[in-house]
């Protein structure tokens, strides 16, 4: 059986009640929002305070570390001096200069038949060899040795005969200019 509901309250009163109920809900929601935002704001302030404390501690620790490094600055200076010197020493120590390398190379390439009377290797790495050989065949061997051997072709760019003469004694006096790569 269907129930019949009859509202006997005046319509203004009913509207007022509905309005009150609505406002009550808005009030609850508003207060809750203010409380939450206030709580979050307080939280950020508290975090800031805590962080400031941590920063001060970190700063103090950093100061202590800097102080320790300053106490060891003599050792640090010694390390820097060693590194500074070694940087240059490393470039040269144990590595023969171009001139010494050329001397060693020519020593291997020049035949034993060549009797060297003078030998110059200048700053640019150009070598001038003046020597005496006993016969024409040795002259050939000398030039072939300086121009054809594989180790020579790697390092020698040009060999020029500056002077060649044969004396009455039958000996060949030869002056060679050797340019290296």
């Amino acid at each position: 059986m269907r129930k019949i509901s009859i509202n006997l309250l005046p319509i203004e009163y009913a509207r007022e009640e509905i309005k009150k109920a609505k406002f009550y809900k808005i009030q609850i929601f508003g207060i809750a929002s203010v409380v939450i935002v206030t709580f979050l704001a307080s939280l950020t302030v508290a975090l800031g305070v805590l962080q400031s404390k941590n920063i001060k501690e970190a700063e103090a620790r950093l100061g202590e570390s800097e102080e320790k490094v300053l106490q060891l600055k003599d050792r640090q200076a010694l390390v820097f001096v060693i590194k500074n010197r070694l940087a240059t020493i490393n470039q040269y120590f144990g590595i023969p200069s171009k001139q010494v390398a050329i001397y060693s190379m020519l020593n291997q390439l020049l035949p034993s038949g060549l009797n060297i009377s003078s030998y110059t290797i200048d700053r640019s790495g150009e070598a001038v060899v003046i020597g005496v050989v006993s016969d024409g065949e040795s002259v050939d061997n000398l030039i072939v040795g300086l121009t054809s051997k594989s180790e020579a072709s790697d390092k020698i760019s040009r060999v020029s005969i500056e002077n060649l003469n044969r004396g009455r004694d039958g000996l060949y006096r030869i002056s060679l200019k050797i340019q290296t790569k």
């Binding site: 406002f23 970190a58 640090q76 590194k83 010197r85 070694l86 030998y119």
Partner: protein, 228 residues
């Protein structure tokens, strides 16, 4: 306006006034408290992190420095500076060249300071004239360039006698030197590591300096009275 009127207006428009007041309060809190605090928090987080990083770096540096033996470092620095001095070391070089030439069976007949310098790095020139067996001349050159004092041969002039066994050679040598830089690292600068290769190099340099240079005996040559 009377208080009663205000109350009446509020009661009439409370559904609008209250939410607006709440929204404004929240907005004020957010704009003037939360956002500045959060910005400051983020900024300070970076500062804190940088302090921590720097502090950790310095702690590691302190640890590394403390692990080094100061006496050993002083010896190494002394050896390195002897090898590659900060200024012209004429006396040391004269003694050393005399030692090297005599050890290699050569006689040093003259020594002259001057001449062109090695182009790349600061250096001063020395011209020496030596006489000795041709067969071991290469060894002499090698000894000069591998001596603990950094030297480069930049010109070689050799003339042989009639026999060809004994030679006379003029060598132009550049002795390298360079001033030590004024700035030897700040608190923040990282400690340069000394590699194994560099340690070996230091050991080789140190080995070459075992015989103190001042202990080398100088034997006078030439006439006792040059005016005779």
């Amino acid at each position: 306006m009377k208080k009663e009127n205000l109350v009446l207006i509020y009661q009439r428009y409370q559904l609008i006034i209250f939410p607006v007041a709440v929204a404004l309060s929240c907005l004020i809190l957010i704009v003037f408290v939360m956002i500045p605090q959060l910005t400051k928090f983020l900024k300070n987080s970076q500062v804190e992190a940088s302090f921590k990083t720097k502090s950790d770096f310095l702690d590691t540096k302190v640890e590394a420095l403390e692990s080094l033996d100061e006496k050993d470092l002083q010896k190494k620095a002394r050896d390195a500076v002897i090898s590659f001095p900060q200024e012209k070391d004429f006396v040391t070089l004269i003694i050393l060249l005399q030692k090297i030439t005599s050890e290699n069976g050569f006689n040093m007949t003259s020594l002259l300071f001057g001449g062109a310098r090695f182009s790349k790095d600061p250096s001063y020139g020395i011209l020496i004239e030596v006489a000795g067996p041709k067969s071991i001349f290469a060894r002499l050159l090698n000894s000069i360039e591998t001596s603990h004092r950094l030297m480069r041969i930049d010109r070689i002039e050799i003339s042989s006698g009639k026999s060809g066994d004994v030679i006379s050679a003029n060598l132009s040598i550049s002795a390298l030197f360079a001033p030590i830089p004024g700035n030897l690292g700040s608190v923040d600068s990282p400690l340069p590591p000394i590699s194994k290769g560099e340690e070996e190099l230091m050991a080789r340099l140190s080995k070459g300096q075992e015989v103190p240079l001042t202990a080398v005996e100088l034997s006078p040559t030439g006439k006792s009275n040059p005016f005779e």
